[in-house]
Symmetry: C2
Subunit: 301 residues, 2 copies
Protein backbone atom coordinates (compact mmCIF):
# COMPACT_ATOMS: atom_id res chain seq x y z
CA UNK A 1 0.00 0.00 0.00
CA UNK A 2 1.54 3.27 -1.13
CA UNK A 3 0.39 6.03 1.17
CA UNK A 4 0.98 9.76 0.87
CA UNK A 5 3.42 9.43 3.76
CA UNK A 6 5.44 6.83 1.81
CA UNK A 7 5.66 9.20 -1.11
CA UNK A 8 6.44 12.25 1.01
CA UNK A 9 9.21 10.40 2.84
CA UNK A 10 10.72 9.27 -0.43
CA UNK A 11 10.73 12.88 -1.69
CA UNK A 12 12.42 14.07 1.51
CA UNK A 13 15.11 11.44 1.06
CA UNK A 14 15.52 12.40 -2.60
CA UNK A 15 15.99 16.05 -1.66
CA UNK A 16 18.81 15.13 0.71
CA UNK A 17 20.50 12.82 -1.80
CA UNK A 18 20.36 15.39 -4.59
CA UNK A 19 21.73 18.19 -2.40
CA UNK A 20 24.58 15.93 -1.24
CA UNK A 21 25.48 14.94 -4.80
CA UNK A 22 25.38 18.54 -6.04
CA UNK A 23 27.51 19.82 -3.13
CA UNK A 24 30.05 17.08 -3.69
CA UNK A 25 30.38 17.86 -7.40
CA UNK A 26 30.35 21.62 -6.87
CA UNK A 27 33.12 21.42 -4.27
CA UNK A 28 32.35 24.81 -2.71
CA UNK A 29 28.65 25.76 -2.58
CA UNK A 30 26.62 24.55 0.39
CA UNK A 31 22.84 24.32 0.58
CA UNK A 32 21.21 26.35 3.31
CA UNK A 33 17.97 24.92 4.65
CA UNK A 34 14.95 27.20 4.99
CA UNK A 35 11.86 25.53 6.49
CA UNK A 36 8.51 27.23 6.09
CA UNK A 37 4.91 26.63 7.12
CA UNK A 38 1.73 27.10 5.15
CA UNK A 39 -1.10 28.90 6.93
CA UNK A 40 -3.71 26.47 5.58
CA UNK A 41 -1.72 23.33 6.50
CA UNK A 42 1.67 21.76 5.88
CA UNK A 43 4.80 23.47 4.64
CA UNK A 44 8.16 22.69 3.17
CA UNK A 45 11.91 23.02 3.25
CA UNK A 46 13.61 25.16 0.62
CA UNK A 47 17.25 24.29 0.18
CA UNK A 48 19.15 27.04 -1.58
CA UNK A 49 22.69 27.19 -2.93
CA UNK A 50 24.53 30.38 -3.92
CA UNK A 51 27.98 31.24 -5.26
CA UNK A 52 29.29 27.72 -5.70
CA UNK A 53 32.22 26.83 -7.95
CA UNK A 54 29.81 25.53 -10.56
CA UNK A 55 26.31 26.50 -9.41
CA UNK A 56 25.76 30.24 -9.15
CA UNK A 57 22.20 30.07 -7.78
CA UNK A 58 19.76 27.25 -7.35
CA UNK A 59 17.19 25.59 -5.18
CA UNK A 60 16.07 22.07 -4.33
CA UNK A 61 12.67 22.53 -2.73
CA UNK A 62 10.53 20.02 -0.91
CA UNK A 63 6.95 20.68 0.11
CA UNK A 64 4.02 18.76 1.55
CA UNK A 65 0.92 20.90 1.86
CA UNK A 66 -2.65 19.99 2.72
CA UNK A 67 -6.01 21.41 3.77
CA UNK A 68 -9.20 22.40 1.99
CA UNK A 69 -8.74 22.15 -1.77
CA UNK A 70 -8.39 25.70 -3.16
CA UNK A 71 -11.29 26.75 -5.39
CA UNK A 72 -9.08 27.36 -8.45
CA UNK A 73 -7.98 23.70 -8.26
CA UNK A 74 -11.57 22.46 -8.13
CA UNK A 75 -12.46 24.69 -11.08
CA UNK A 76 -9.54 23.33 -13.10
CA UNK A 77 -10.89 19.84 -12.44
CA UNK A 78 -14.48 20.79 -13.21
CA UNK A 79 -15.50 19.77 -9.70
CA UNK A 80 -18.21 21.66 -7.79
CA UNK A 81 -16.51 24.31 -5.63
CA UNK A 82 -19.08 23.81 -2.89
CA UNK A 83 -17.86 20.29 -2.03
CA UNK A 84 -14.73 21.39 -0.18
CA UNK A 85 -12.76 18.13 -0.33
CA UNK A 86 -9.39 18.04 1.42
CA UNK A 87 -6.20 17.81 -0.63
CA UNK A 88 -2.64 16.71 -0.03
CA UNK A 89 0.20 17.67 -2.36
CA UNK A 90 3.86 16.83 -2.03
CA UNK A 91 6.78 17.26 -4.37
CA UNK A 92 10.32 18.24 -5.19
CA UNK A 93 11.14 21.17 -7.40
CA UNK A 94 14.64 22.02 -8.63
CA UNK A 95 16.18 24.75 -10.75
CA UNK A 96 19.95 25.26 -11.01
CA UNK A 97 21.67 28.21 -12.70
CA UNK A 98 25.37 27.50 -13.32
CA UNK A 99 28.22 30.04 -13.40
CA UNK A 100 29.72 28.80 -16.66
CA UNK A 101 27.57 29.51 -19.75
CA UNK A 102 28.71 26.16 -21.17
CA UNK A 103 26.90 24.30 -18.37
CA UNK A 104 23.14 24.04 -19.01
CA UNK A 105 20.41 25.28 -16.68
CA UNK A 106 18.34 22.33 -15.45
CA UNK A 107 14.89 21.94 -13.97
CA UNK A 108 13.25 18.92 -12.35
CA UNK A 109 9.93 18.46 -10.65
CA UNK A 110 8.24 15.40 -9.18
CA UNK A 111 4.86 15.72 -7.51
CA UNK A 112 1.99 13.76 -6.05
CA UNK A 113 -1.53 15.05 -5.47
CA UNK A 114 -4.49 13.40 -3.78
CA UNK A 115 -7.92 14.45 -2.55
CA UNK A 116 -10.25 13.12 0.11
CA UNK A 117 -12.66 12.09 -2.66
CA UNK A 118 -10.17 9.41 -3.76
CA UNK A 119 -8.69 11.24 -6.77
CA UNK A 120 -4.88 11.06 -7.01
CA UNK A 121 -2.15 11.46 -9.57
CA UNK A 122 1.58 11.84 -10.11
CA UNK A 123 3.29 14.44 -12.26
CA UNK A 124 6.74 15.74 -13.00
CA UNK A 125 9.46 16.21 -15.53
CA UNK A 126 13.06 17.13 -16.25
CA UNK A 127 14.15 19.59 -18.90
CA UNK A 128 17.52 20.96 -19.94
CA UNK A 129 18.14 24.58 -20.96
CA UNK A 130 21.61 25.06 -22.42
CA UNK A 131 22.75 28.64 -22.99
CA UNK A 132 24.62 27.16 -25.94
CA UNK A 133 23.06 24.03 -27.40
CA UNK A 134 25.68 21.29 -27.62
CA UNK A 135 24.11 18.62 -29.79
CA UNK A 136 26.05 15.77 -28.18
CA UNK A 137 24.94 16.85 -24.71
CA UNK A 138 21.32 17.16 -25.85
CA UNK A 139 21.51 13.67 -27.32
CA UNK A 140 23.11 12.23 -24.15
CA UNK A 141 20.40 13.83 -22.05
CA UNK A 142 17.53 12.54 -24.17
CA UNK A 143 19.00 9.04 -24.49
CA UNK A 144 19.17 8.96 -20.70
CA UNK A 145 15.59 10.21 -20.32
CA UNK A 146 14.40 7.69 -22.89
CA UNK A 147 16.08 4.84 -21.00
CA UNK A 148 14.35 5.88 -17.78
CA UNK A 149 11.01 5.98 -19.59
CA UNK A 150 11.49 2.79 -21.63
CA UNK A 151 12.13 0.80 -18.46
CA UNK A 152 8.51 1.50 -17.53
CA UNK A 153 6.58 1.67 -20.79
CA UNK A 154 7.42 2.20 -24.47
CA UNK A 155 4.68 4.84 -24.74
CA UNK A 156 6.21 7.03 -22.04
CA UNK A 157 9.15 8.65 -23.81
CA UNK A 158 7.40 9.65 -27.05
CA UNK A 159 4.40 11.01 -25.15
CA UNK A 160 6.34 12.78 -22.41
CA UNK A 161 8.99 14.16 -24.78
CA UNK A 162 6.25 15.75 -26.89
CA UNK A 163 4.56 17.04 -23.74
CA UNK A 164 7.83 18.75 -22.72
CA UNK A 165 8.21 20.28 -26.20
CA UNK A 166 4.72 21.72 -25.91
CA UNK A 167 4.98 22.79 -22.27
CA UNK A 168 8.43 24.40 -22.21
CA UNK A 169 7.60 26.70 -25.10
CA UNK A 170 7.69 30.50 -25.26
CA UNK A 171 4.80 31.25 -27.57
CA UNK A 172 5.67 34.96 -27.71
CA UNK A 173 9.20 34.11 -28.92
CA UNK A 174 8.24 31.07 -30.96
CA UNK A 175 11.06 29.17 -29.33
CA UNK A 176 11.41 26.32 -26.87
CA UNK A 177 12.98 27.08 -23.48
CA UNK A 178 15.83 24.70 -24.19
CA UNK A 179 16.25 21.23 -25.63
CA UNK A 180 13.25 19.89 -23.72
CA UNK A 181 13.20 16.60 -21.90
CA UNK A 182 10.15 14.91 -20.44
CA UNK A 183 6.99 16.29 -18.85
CA UNK A 184 4.05 14.30 -17.50
CA UNK A 185 0.98 14.93 -15.39
CA UNK A 186 -2.18 13.22 -14.15
CA UNK A 187 -0.57 9.75 -14.07
CA UNK A 188 -3.35 7.65 -12.54
CA UNK A 189 -4.22 3.97 -12.15
CA UNK A 190 -5.53 3.20 -15.63
CA UNK A 191 -4.68 1.17 -18.74
CA UNK A 192 -2.86 -1.42 -16.64
CA UNK A 193 -0.82 1.12 -14.70
CA UNK A 194 -1.07 0.88 -10.92
CA UNK A 195 -0.22 3.33 -8.19
CA UNK A 196 2.88 1.26 -7.56
CA UNK A 197 4.04 1.28 -11.18
CA UNK A 198 3.43 5.03 -11.47
CA UNK A 199 5.37 5.68 -8.27
CA UNK A 200 8.21 3.43 -9.45
CA UNK A 201 8.47 5.54 -12.59
CA UNK A 202 8.48 8.82 -10.64
CA UNK A 203 11.18 7.42 -8.36
CA UNK A 204 13.33 6.52 -11.35
CA UNK A 205 12.90 10.03 -12.78
CA UNK A 206 13.90 11.55 -9.45
CA UNK A 207 16.87 9.24 -9.09
CA UNK A 208 18.08 10.02 -12.61
CA UNK A 209 18.47 13.71 -11.86
CA UNK A 210 21.72 13.84 -9.87
CA UNK A 211 23.79 11.49 -12.07
CA UNK A 212 22.80 13.23 -15.29
CA UNK A 213 23.27 16.79 -14.05
CA UNK A 214 26.49 16.20 -12.12
CA UNK A 215 27.91 14.63 -15.30
CA UNK A 216 27.23 17.90 -17.16
CA UNK A 217 28.67 19.90 -14.25
CA UNK A 218 31.88 17.87 -14.35
CA UNK A 219 32.15 17.70 -18.12
CA UNK A 220 31.45 21.37 -18.96
CA UNK A 221 32.39 23.54 -15.99
CA UNK A 222 36.05 23.82 -17.00
CA UNK A 223 35.25 24.94 -20.54
CA UNK A 224 36.58 28.41 -21.33
CA UNK A 225 34.32 31.39 -21.87
CA UNK A 226 34.58 35.16 -22.18
CA UNK A 227 32.42 38.22 -21.52
CA UNK A 228 30.66 37.53 -24.83
CA UNK A 229 29.38 34.16 -23.60
CA UNK A 230 28.44 35.67 -20.21
CA UNK A 231 26.39 38.32 -22.01
CA UNK A 232 24.56 35.69 -24.03
CA UNK A 233 23.98 33.70 -20.84
CA UNK A 234 22.38 36.79 -19.27
CA UNK A 235 20.07 37.18 -22.30
CA UNK A 236 19.11 33.49 -22.15
CA UNK A 237 18.46 33.86 -18.43
CA UNK A 238 16.09 36.67 -19.43
CA UNK A 239 14.22 34.16 -21.57
CA UNK A 240 14.12 31.76 -18.60
CA UNK A 241 12.50 34.54 -16.54
CA UNK A 242 10.01 35.17 -19.34
CA UNK A 243 9.01 31.51 -19.50
CA UNK A 244 8.65 31.09 -15.75
CA UNK A 245 6.67 34.28 -15.16
CA UNK A 246 4.54 34.31 -18.32
CA UNK A 247 3.88 30.67 -19.20
CA UNK A 248 4.75 28.28 -16.37
CA UNK A 249 1.43 27.09 -14.96
CA UNK A 250 2.94 26.00 -11.62
CA UNK A 251 4.47 29.43 -11.04
CA UNK A 252 1.28 31.27 -11.98
CA UNK A 253 -0.86 28.99 -9.87
CA UNK A 254 1.45 29.39 -6.87
CA UNK A 255 1.55 33.17 -7.11
CA UNK A 256 -2.22 33.33 -7.60
CA UNK A 257 -3.04 31.14 -4.61
CA UNK A 258 -0.77 32.68 -1.97
CA UNK A 259 1.95 30.07 -2.34
CA UNK A 260 5.31 30.77 -0.71
CA UNK A 261 6.69 33.40 -3.07
CA UNK A 262 10.39 32.98 -2.30
CA UNK A 263 10.20 29.22 -2.83
CA UNK A 264 8.29 29.58 -6.08
CA UNK A 265 10.63 32.26 -7.42
CA UNK A 266 13.83 30.44 -6.45
CA UNK A 267 13.69 29.35 -10.11
CA UNK A 268 14.71 32.86 -11.23
CA UNK A 269 18.34 33.39 -12.21
CA UNK A 270 20.82 35.42 -10.13
CA UNK A 271 20.72 38.05 -12.85
CA UNK A 272 19.32 38.53 -16.34
CA UNK A 273 19.55 41.06 -19.15
CA UNK A 274 17.31 42.38 -21.89
CA UNK A 275 18.50 44.09 -25.08
CA UNK A 276 15.88 45.47 -27.46
CA UNK A 277 15.50 43.23 -30.50
CA UNK A 278 18.82 41.47 -30.04
CA UNK A 279 19.79 39.38 -33.08
CA UNK A 280 22.93 37.24 -32.92
CA UNK A 281 25.24 37.48 -35.97
CA UNK A 282 24.56 35.02 -38.78
CA UNK A 283 26.71 31.92 -38.44
CA UNK A 284 27.48 32.54 -34.75
CA UNK A 285 27.19 29.92 -32.00
CA UNK A 286 24.38 32.02 -30.54
CA UNK A 287 22.48 31.96 -33.80
CA UNK A 288 22.97 28.23 -34.07
CA UNK A 289 21.52 27.80 -30.59
CA UNK A 290 18.41 29.76 -31.58
CA UNK A 291 17.99 27.56 -34.63
CA UNK A 292 17.89 24.51 -32.34
CA UNK A 293 15.26 25.86 -29.93
CA UNK A 294 12.47 24.15 -31.85
CA UNK A 295 9.90 21.48 -31.11
CA UNK A 296 10.04 17.99 -32.57
CA UNK A 297 13.79 17.56 -32.78
CA UNK A 298 14.45 13.85 -32.40
CA UNK A 299 17.37 14.19 -29.97
CA UNK A 300 17.33 10.58 -28.79
CA UNK A 301 18.05 9.61 -32.40
Amino acid sequence: MITKETIRDWFVELQGNICDALEKTDGKGKFISDPWERAGGGGGVSRVITDGNIIEKGGVNFSAVFGKTPEPVLKTMNLPVGDHPDFYATGISIVLHPVNPMVPIIHMNTRYFEMSNGIWWFGGGIDLTPHYVNEEDAKTFHVHMKAVCDKHHPSYYPAFKKWADDYFFLKHRNETRGVGGIFFDSLKAENGFTKESRFDFVKDVGSAFAPIYTSFMTKNSALPYTEKEKHWQALRRGRYVEFNLVWDRGTKFGLDTDGRTESILMSLPPQAQWVYNYQPPAGSAEQKTLSLLKKEINWAG
Copy 2:
Protein backbone atom coordinates in the same frame (compact mmCIF):
# COMPACT_ATOMS: atom_id res chain seq x y z
CA MET B 1 -15.77 65.87 -34.52
CA ILE B 2 -12.96 63.85 -32.96
CA THR B 3 -12.05 61.00 -35.26
CA LYS B 4 -9.64 58.12 -34.67
CA GLU B 5 -7.29 59.85 -37.11
CA THR B 6 -7.32 63.01 -34.99
CA ILE B 7 -6.40 60.99 -31.95
CA ARG B 8 -3.77 58.93 -33.75
CA ASP B 9 -2.14 62.06 -35.17
CA TRP B 10 -2.03 63.64 -31.74
CA PHE B 11 -0.33 60.53 -30.33
CA VAL B 12 2.25 60.57 -33.13
CA GLU B 13 3.01 64.21 -32.35
CA LEU B 14 3.23 63.41 -28.62
CA GLN B 15 5.71 60.63 -29.29
CA GLY B 16 7.98 63.01 -31.17
CA ASN B 17 7.73 65.74 -28.55
CA ILE B 18 8.49 63.35 -25.70
CA CYS B 19 11.49 61.82 -27.48
CA ASP B 20 12.85 65.30 -28.24
CA ALA B 21 12.46 66.43 -24.63
CA LEU B 22 14.09 63.26 -23.25
CA GLU B 23 17.03 63.46 -25.67
CA LYS B 24 17.60 67.10 -24.83
CA THR B 25 17.64 66.42 -21.08
CA ASP B 26 19.70 63.25 -21.41
CA GLY B 27 22.33 65.00 -23.51
CA LYS B 28 23.76 61.81 -25.00
CA GLY B 29 21.20 59.07 -25.71
CA LYS B 30 19.39 59.15 -29.06
CA PHE B 31 16.16 57.37 -29.89
CA ILE B 32 16.34 54.92 -32.75
CA SER B 33 13.13 54.47 -34.71
CA ASP B 34 11.87 50.96 -35.43
CA PRO B 35 8.69 50.82 -37.53
CA TRP B 36 6.73 47.58 -37.63
CA GLU B 37 3.60 46.24 -39.27
CA ARG B 38 0.85 44.05 -37.86
CA ALA B 39 -0.24 41.12 -40.01
CA GLY B 40 -3.93 41.75 -39.26
CA GLY B 41 -3.77 45.49 -39.98
CA GLY B 42 -1.88 48.59 -38.87
CA GLY B 43 1.42 48.73 -37.03
CA GLY B 44 3.55 51.10 -35.05
CA VAL B 45 6.83 52.81 -34.47
CA SER B 46 8.93 51.78 -31.48
CA ARG B 47 11.42 54.40 -30.47
CA VAL B 48 14.16 52.99 -28.27
CA ILE B 49 16.94 54.69 -26.32
CA THR B 50 19.99 52.90 -24.89
CA ASP B 51 23.08 53.92 -22.92
CA GLY B 52 22.25 57.58 -22.44
CA ASN B 53 23.83 59.77 -19.77
CA ILE B 54 20.69 59.46 -17.66
CA ILE B 55 18.48 56.85 -19.36
CA GLU B 56 20.04 53.40 -19.52
CA LYS B 57 17.23 51.76 -21.50
CA GLY B 58 13.79 52.87 -22.48
CA GLY B 59 11.14 53.02 -25.13
CA VAL B 60 8.50 55.44 -26.36
CA ASN B 61 6.18 53.34 -28.47
CA PHE B 62 3.40 54.42 -30.76
CA SER B 63 0.94 52.02 -32.35
CA ALA B 64 -2.26 52.17 -34.37
CA VAL B 65 -3.65 48.72 -35.09
CA PHE B 66 -6.95 47.63 -36.58
CA GLY B 67 -8.80 44.71 -38.12
CA LYS B 68 -11.24 42.10 -36.87
CA THR B 69 -11.64 42.38 -33.09
CA PRO B 70 -9.72 39.49 -31.47
CA GLU B 71 -11.96 36.97 -29.72
CA PRO B 72 -10.32 37.47 -26.29
CA VAL B 73 -11.30 41.16 -26.49
CA LEU B 74 -14.92 40.32 -27.31
CA LYS B 75 -14.98 37.82 -24.44
CA THR B 76 -13.62 40.43 -22.00
CA MET B 77 -16.47 42.71 -23.08
CA ASN B 78 -19.09 39.95 -22.88
CA LEU B 79 -19.88 40.44 -26.56
CA PRO B 80 -20.79 37.48 -28.81
CA VAL B 81 -17.61 36.26 -30.49
CA GLY B 82 -19.54 35.46 -33.66
CA ASP B 83 -20.26 39.13 -34.47
CA HIS B 84 -16.74 39.92 -35.72
CA PRO B 85 -16.86 43.71 -35.42
CA ASP B 86 -13.80 45.66 -36.55
CA PHE B 87 -11.63 47.45 -34.02
CA TYR B 88 -9.15 50.29 -34.06
CA ALA B 89 -6.68 50.87 -31.22
CA THR B 90 -4.04 53.54 -30.98
CA GLY B 91 -1.77 54.60 -28.15
CA ILE B 92 1.53 55.61 -26.69
CA SER B 93 3.40 53.46 -24.19
CA ILE B 94 6.55 54.53 -22.37
CA VAL B 95 8.90 52.93 -19.86
CA LEU B 96 12.26 54.47 -18.94
CA HIS B 97 14.97 52.80 -16.84
CA PRO B 98 17.56 55.33 -15.62
CA VAL B 99 21.25 54.68 -14.93
CA ASN B 100 21.29 56.34 -11.52
CA PRO B 101 19.34 54.46 -8.82
CA MET B 102 18.26 57.82 -7.39
CA VAL B 103 16.27 58.59 -10.56
CA PRO B 104 12.90 56.80 -10.58
CA ILE B 105 11.67 54.43 -13.28
CA ILE B 106 8.61 55.89 -15.01
CA HIS B 107 5.79 54.47 -17.07
CA MET B 108 3.13 56.24 -19.10
CA ASN B 109 0.40 54.95 -21.36
CA THR B 110 -2.37 56.72 -23.25
CA ARG B 111 -4.71 54.75 -25.47
CA TYR B 112 -7.90 54.96 -27.49
CA PHE B 113 -10.03 52.02 -28.59
CA GLU B 114 -13.07 51.94 -30.86
CA MET B 115 -15.17 49.29 -32.59
CA SER B 116 -17.36 49.31 -35.68
CA ASN B 117 -20.37 48.78 -33.41
CA GLY B 118 -19.91 52.32 -32.04
CA ILE B 119 -18.25 51.41 -28.75
CA TRP B 120 -15.21 53.56 -27.86
CA TRP B 121 -13.15 54.55 -24.83
CA PHE B 122 -9.95 56.17 -23.67
CA GLY B 123 -7.52 54.75 -21.13
CA GLY B 124 -4.10 55.45 -19.74
CA GLY B 125 -2.03 56.37 -16.75
CA ILE B 126 1.33 57.46 -15.39
CA ASP B 127 3.08 55.82 -12.46
CA LEU B 128 6.43 56.38 -10.79
CA THR B 129 8.69 53.60 -9.49
CA PRO B 130 11.57 54.97 -7.44
CA HIS B 131 14.31 52.50 -6.51
CA TYR B 132 14.58 54.60 -3.36
CA VAL B 133 11.38 56.36 -2.34
CA ASN B 134 12.05 60.06 -1.80
CA GLU B 135 8.97 61.39 -0.08
CA GLU B 136 9.35 64.91 -1.47
CA ASP B 137 9.60 63.57 -5.03
CA ALA B 138 6.55 61.34 -4.51
CA LYS B 139 4.61 64.32 -3.22
CA THR B 140 5.73 66.54 -6.13
CA PHE B 141 4.69 63.85 -8.59
CA HIS B 142 1.25 63.32 -7.06
CA VAL B 143 0.56 67.05 -6.67
CA HIS B 144 1.34 67.39 -10.37
CA MET B 145 -0.92 64.46 -11.29
CA LYS B 146 -3.69 65.85 -9.09
CA ALA B 147 -3.47 69.24 -10.81
CA VAL B 148 -3.79 67.60 -14.23
CA CYS B 149 -6.85 65.66 -13.01
CA ASP B 150 -8.47 68.51 -11.08
CA LYS B 151 -8.43 70.68 -14.19
CA HIS B 152 -10.92 68.25 -15.70
CA HIS B 153 -13.01 66.92 -12.82
CA PRO B 154 -12.67 66.73 -9.01
CA SER B 155 -13.60 63.04 -9.08
CA TYR B 156 -10.69 62.12 -11.37
CA TYR B 157 -7.69 62.21 -9.04
CA PRO B 158 -9.19 60.28 -6.09
CA ALA B 159 -10.64 57.63 -8.41
CA PHE B 160 -7.62 57.30 -10.70
CA LYS B 161 -5.09 57.41 -7.84
CA LYS B 162 -6.90 54.51 -6.14
CA TRP B 163 -7.07 52.68 -9.48
CA ALA B 164 -3.28 53.00 -9.83
CA ASP B 165 -2.75 51.74 -6.26
CA ASP B 166 -4.85 48.69 -7.06
CA TYR B 167 -3.44 48.10 -10.55
CA PHE B 168 0.30 48.57 -9.94
CA PHE B 169 0.32 46.02 -7.13
CA LEU B 170 2.39 42.84 -6.77
CA LYS B 171 -0.03 40.56 -4.95
CA HIS B 172 2.64 37.87 -4.47
CA ARG B 173 4.92 40.40 -2.73
CA ASN B 174 2.16 42.36 -1.02
CA GLU B 175 3.79 45.56 -2.24
CA THR B 176 2.99 48.28 -4.75
CA ARG B 177 5.28 48.63 -7.77
CA GLY B 178 6.28 52.13 -6.71
CA VAL B 179 4.54 55.22 -5.39
CA GLY B 180 1.67 54.86 -7.86
CA GLY B 181 0.19 57.72 -9.82
CA ILE B 182 -2.97 57.61 -11.88
CA PHE B 183 -4.60 54.83 -13.90
CA PHE B 184 -7.86 55.03 -15.85
CA ASP B 185 -9.72 52.97 -18.40
CA SER B 186 -13.06 52.82 -20.25
CA LEU B 187 -13.52 56.60 -20.22
CA LYS B 188 -16.68 57.00 -22.31
CA ALA B 189 -19.27 59.67 -23.04
CA GLU B 190 -21.37 59.46 -19.87
CA ASN B 191 -22.27 61.51 -16.78
CA GLY B 192 -21.77 64.76 -18.67
CA PHE B 193 -18.40 63.78 -20.10
CA THR B 194 -18.09 64.03 -23.88
CA LYS B 195 -15.61 62.52 -26.29
CA GLU B 196 -14.02 65.94 -26.49
CA SER B 197 -13.67 66.37 -22.73
CA ARG B 198 -12.23 62.84 -22.35
CA PHE B 199 -9.72 63.48 -25.14
CA ASP B 200 -8.77 66.84 -23.61
CA PHE B 201 -7.97 65.03 -20.36
CA VAL B 202 -5.89 62.35 -22.11
CA LYS B 203 -4.00 65.08 -23.97
CA ASP B 204 -3.20 66.83 -20.70
CA VAL B 205 -1.95 63.55 -19.18
CA GLY B 206 0.27 62.96 -22.21
CA SER B 207 1.57 66.51 -22.18
CA ALA B 208 2.37 66.30 -18.46
CA PHE B 209 4.79 63.42 -18.94
CA ALA B 210 7.89 65.13 -20.33
CA PRO B 211 8.00 68.11 -17.94
CA ILE B 212 7.55 65.97 -14.84
CA TYR B 213 10.02 63.25 -15.80
CA THR B 214 12.72 65.55 -17.18
CA SER B 215 12.51 67.47 -13.90
CA PHE B 216 13.37 64.25 -12.01
CA MET B 217 16.12 63.47 -14.53
CA THR B 218 17.70 66.88 -13.98
CA LYS B 219 17.18 66.98 -10.23
CA ASN B 220 18.40 63.47 -9.34
CA SER B 221 20.85 62.25 -11.98
CA ALA B 222 23.86 63.91 -10.35
CA LEU B 223 23.17 62.38 -6.94
CA PRO B 224 25.97 60.10 -5.75
CA TYR B 225 25.59 56.32 -5.48
CA THR B 226 27.74 53.26 -4.93
CA GLU B 227 27.67 49.55 -5.80
CA LYS B 228 25.27 49.06 -2.87
CA GLU B 229 22.65 51.29 -4.48
CA LYS B 230 23.25 49.67 -7.91
CA HIS B 231 22.62 46.26 -6.35
CA TRP B 232 19.36 47.43 -4.80
CA GLN B 233 18.38 48.97 -8.14
CA ALA B 234 18.94 45.57 -9.81
CA LEU B 235 16.73 43.88 -7.21
CA ARG B 236 14.00 46.50 -7.70
CA ARG B 237 14.29 46.03 -11.45
CA GLY B 238 13.64 42.36 -10.74
CA ARG B 239 10.38 43.37 -9.08
CA TYR B 240 9.55 45.50 -12.14
CA VAL B 241 10.03 42.40 -14.31
CA GLU B 242 7.80 40.40 -11.97
CA PHE B 243 5.01 42.97 -12.17
CA ASN B 244 5.14 43.32 -15.93
CA LEU B 245 5.28 39.60 -16.69
CA VAL B 246 2.97 38.29 -13.96
CA TRP B 247 0.36 40.99 -13.37
CA ASP B 248 0.30 43.61 -16.13
CA ARG B 249 -2.84 42.94 -18.15
CA GLY B 250 -1.59 44.82 -21.20
CA THR B 251 1.59 42.74 -21.37
CA LYS B 252 -0.24 39.46 -20.89
CA PHE B 253 -2.86 40.38 -23.44
CA GLY B 254 -0.23 41.39 -25.98
CA LEU B 255 1.82 38.22 -25.54
CA ASP B 256 -1.32 36.07 -25.68
CA THR B 257 -2.64 37.65 -28.87
CA ASP B 258 0.51 37.68 -31.01
CA GLY B 259 1.33 41.30 -30.33
CA ARG B 260 4.77 42.57 -31.32
CA THR B 261 6.90 40.95 -28.62
CA GLU B 262 9.89 43.30 -28.77
CA SER B 263 7.66 46.38 -28.46
CA ILE B 264 5.69 44.88 -25.58
CA LEU B 265 8.83 43.81 -23.71
CA MET B 266 10.69 47.09 -24.23
CA SER B 267 9.37 47.73 -20.71
CA LEU B 268 11.87 45.26 -19.25
CA PRO B 269 15.02 46.69 -17.63
CA PRO B 270 18.51 46.38 -19.15
CA GLN B 271 19.35 43.95 -16.35
CA ALA B 272 17.84 42.63 -13.13
CA GLN B 273 18.89 40.47 -10.21
CA TRP B 274 17.26 38.04 -7.82
CA VAL B 275 18.59 37.05 -4.39
CA TYR B 276 16.74 34.37 -2.44
CA ASN B 277 14.69 35.91 0.37
CA TYR B 278 16.62 39.20 0.41
CA GLN B 279 15.79 41.33 3.46
CA PRO B 280 17.30 44.81 3.73
CA PRO B 281 18.81 45.68 7.14
CA ALA B 282 16.47 47.28 9.68
CA GLY B 283 16.66 51.05 9.56
CA SER B 284 18.28 51.12 6.09
CA ALA B 285 17.12 53.32 3.21
CA GLU B 286 16.15 50.11 1.37
CA GLN B 287 13.98 48.99 4.27
CA LYS B 288 12.36 52.43 4.43
CA THR B 289 11.54 52.18 0.72
CA LEU B 290 9.81 48.83 1.25
CA SER B 291 7.76 50.32 4.09
CA LEU B 292 6.47 52.99 1.66
CA LEU B 293 5.41 50.56 -1.10
CA LYS B 294 1.85 50.45 0.21
CA LYS B 295 -1.55 51.38 -1.09
CA GLU B 296 -3.54 54.34 0.20
CA ILE B 297 -0.67 56.68 1.04
CA ASN B 298 -2.03 60.20 0.60
CA TRP B 299 1.01 61.55 -1.28
CA ALA B 300 -0.75 64.67 -2.62
CA GLY B 301 -1.28 65.71 1.01
